[in-house]
Symmetry: C2
Subunit: 129 residues, 2 copies
């Protein structure tokens, strides 16, 4: 389909994806999609990524229940980065990170080092049973 | 330095970077940094990226005057993605995109196609003289 073809896939056939929480504006996570993942995301209205470590489609929340409802899909000026506006489901406040935190970006550069500055909302052992 | 070493640089020695406007929460752009770019960003308090097309350091705004003042640098759970909280300088409202728009993510997926849904705030020809 045209809209999938106009995306500039990289040498691995992937595109970087930023997931932003629609309500808060918080950047929740960063991942990758291939053509099939983007097509499924648009069709389902839920985020489906490409897991580079597992080399397979990754329906976000398939294990944890922390699905991402997709409200909007955006593409940047160079057609090579995707931005999703999502609601992070399954827990309140939403948990996007596998560490049990709201956002994956919980380490802040401070005093010459990276400090974890966001709380763990749920024990990862309780998330991935 | 330790904090630079703990970043997981990819096979090209780069890390993906998301720039988010501190005030609005808007995701402005996506770019890449190498080790030197991240070191300079932290030292100057202004965003310095690595331009993959030009293969050189790119002090954002060096031509356009649209500098990014960096308030916070964050790192994700896998240590392989950086998030900057910035103020987009040089124009009000801020222009991060080379097309003269506020954000690079101005194309929205709608009705099976990508539609440009954000206004051009300044003619790019007037930005890059």
């Amino acid at each position: 389909m045209d809209w999938l073809t106009s995306v500039k896939w990289d040498r691995d056939g992937l595109v970087p994806v930023i997931a932003q929480e629609a309500g808060s504006g918080d950047v929740l996570m960063f991942a990758w999609m291939n053509r099939e993942a983007l097509a499924q995301t648009a069709a389902r209205g839920q985020a489906v990524y490409w897991s580079r470590s597992r080399q397979r489609l990754w329906h976000k929340g398939e294990e944890s229940g922390h699905l991402q409802q997709v409200h909007e899909i955006r593409l940047d000026c160079d057609n090579d980065v995707v931005l999703l506006k999502v609601t992070q489901l399954g827990h309140s406040p939403g948990i996007a990170c596998h560490t049990g935190r709201h956002s994956c970006f919980f380490q802040r550069f401070e005093g010459g080092q990276w400090l974890a500055v966001e709380p763990v909302l749920k024990d990862p052992e309780a998330i991935y049973r």
